[in-house]
Point group: C2
Chain length 444, copies 2
Amino acid sequence: MANDSQVMDKLVSLCKRRGYIFQSSEIYGGVGSVWDYGPLGVELQRNVKEAWWRAMVHERDDIEGLDAGILMHPRVWEASGHVAGFTDPLVDCKACKARFRADQLEESSCPRKPSVHPGEFHDCQLTEPRLFNLMFKTFMGPVEDQAAIVYLRPETAQGIYVNYLNVLNSSRQRIPFGIAQIGKAFRNEITPGNFIFRTREFEQMEMQFFVKPGSDEEWFERWRAWRLEWHQALGLAPARLRLHQHGPEELAHYAKAAFDIQYEFPFGWQEIEGVHNRTDFDLGRHQQYSGKKLEYFDQAANERYLPYIVETSAGADRVTLTLMVDAYREEQVEGETRVVLGFHPAIAPIKAGVFPLVKKDGMPELATELYHALKRRLPVFYDDSGAIGRRYRRMDEAGTPFCITVDGDTVSARTVTVRHRDSMSQDRVGLDQVEAYLRERLEV
Amino acid sequence: MANDSQVMDKLVSLCKRRGYIFQSSEIYGGVGSVWDYGPLGVELQRNVKEAWWRAMVHERDDIEGLDAGILMHPRVWEASGHVAGFTDPLVDCKACKARFRADQLEESSCPRKPSVHPGEFHDCQLTEPRLFNLMFKTFMGPVEDQAAIVYLRPETAQGIYVNYLNVLNSSRQRIPFGIAQIGKAFRNEITPGNFIFRTREFEQMEMQFFVKPGSDEEWFERWRAWRLEWHQALGLAPARLRLHQHGPEELAHYAKAAFDIQYEFPFGWQEIEGVHNRTDFDLGRHQQYSGKKLEYFDQAANERYLPYIVETSAGADRVTLTLMVDAYREEQVEGETRVVLGFHPAIAPIKAGVFPLVKKDGMPELATELYHALKRRLPVFYDDSGAIGRRYRRMDEAGTPFCITVDGDTVSARTVTVRHRDSMSQDRVGLDQVEAYLRERLEV
């Protein structure tokens, strides 16, 4: 990552230029804190979600997948505590019309007259704090009354809890087991920001692991370690990852213990995933509010109990942002600044660029043939436009780990050069060996 | 598909039993017309979306992917015509409180006193029709006033239109080219129904292809043919697929020509995908409403024009339902009813069951070993519970094309039986040949 306080601005600009991320509805001036993934961004995000699903569902015997709706019965959010308690204290300024979180006033300042010292609001006329519920609400059916209110889910977890017996009864699972889900959630944040870090619409990758009470602390420790390892395996700089344990004052009402997996962003250490011991709070509440028994019957031990839940909750957008921030660097090469997204090859959206050195002497034909042969198996990109150095730079910015150039020797000796993004070194590889050469280095 | 008017009820029941689809928030009595995908349903739906993305994005050079937000700038929906015109005429009954679409009264009847002849409402007191907008609305920010209204997108297409120049400028595409997107959309339907066919929350797989005016009819015909072929390749019964051309009275305001790809469900022929020639209507409106030029500059021809758009719009849930309905059958086998989901192996959620014939004599060890070796590469399922015939039946219902049984001969001769779901025939295959045997038949 570049040691630069402007790195976020540069990243936002690169994201637009290379088709990673665009501001939503940009031609209309944008919409507050919603972002759209462009051609490369959607592939990067797909690779993140795919890596998570593979690790959490496909490679394990004890976790089942689920995809629950965004709209749920409104009683779900009474049971979960969100209707009563999912609020932020809001403060308005009558003078400048700005809006602040009352619990973050010390780090804020007036947008009209930014203070040298945050927390000072010289000409502001702040109102008393009032509680503002962060759930987006809408109405189902044509009548907009209290009975028709439904919410956009503020977390995917509740979709797992209310389906836990359905999953248990239709699969062959026994406790301990988990349910994993990837999906959108919505929070009407007062102060969203930091690009795709805190947005009003975002995607979660959540897993809820159901365990016997008494075994929860052991499972909590396991999941904390496993999830940290998962982030490390994506190639993040180890020094920028850490665990942060919630102190008693930070713990949510449902949690017995909680750790954040944090990353050191240019804007500070921030949570990218939470691992929580939620006890039997959620199932207990749903049992109470629905009137349905949600106990597990352990046939072997002939006993019934309400399972404890260990949750792992990651933001797909946050993981994607982390990967981009971690991968971003600038280097001075031959008197020019080279911008690189140094992604781990396994998550890079494009695995290789394929270039004819020049547009003649049979090179475009051979390059096109190679491109089509590779494309059936791997995401590759063809480029014949501009000097070869410029084409390398474009691929560096896009995060593509390898560039394959078809040149005069390809025509005569059927070899190509494979250029490595990070070292910029080049290997000479036989034309019929290119796919094997790439596969060995891509870990895909 | 079973020739049975109750087939939908049976399918809904199977979906719950085998973990394909559950009613949302079931423990709270369910929420109107939202469904959750269980462990097998989420994998089936993933296979559908993956097949679409592969065909539309990864295997083509002329289509880019996109993932735009559900929440967009509200002006988008003024430009698109949805605020003014995305309405259904609604009729209420003052007596029985039922609600009908005024344009479907002839096919409806009172829910309290269902008539022999639909369209007769003996004791009903129907109101005059009033227009009801189908967009869900919510408020962004803490103030619930007109200025804060945003909508849940009723289609993903608009996210593509407003991003078209961003995609064009960040990719190396030239017209003709397309942008593809998979994502959730929401419609506050008055009369949802038929399981996951018409729901208030659903997932679209849309592709917008940008072409030069004058070449639009040719591209329209190509896409109509390609999309029909895609559905056929999923293994659907050819006689249940057809094209339906929109007559002048059916054509949407933006369309110059439109075809539905229809499937014959137990509840009749219904659209599963639409192919539309939308002309330059959408880009023209966004140009007008945003004040931003959205013309394409053709460098080779040195001319500017507003592209025409050919749209292919499929429902992921509808394709999934189609596959399930098409795959569902009942057979009489040895005096018992065998229920089968005869999925094409490429889209089946589980590719093979792995069973030890009995839980002794070294069979569980060998079966477990085989299971773990396969599971790293293919979705497989281990089952050692109950008689082998019952295990076959469970896999038949789950749609699993192959079952591999480890028996006495596996221990002595290192061979297994591979049982085929559809023919119920069995092959004897070497233990080290199982993966190759499956791959050859799975087309994965």
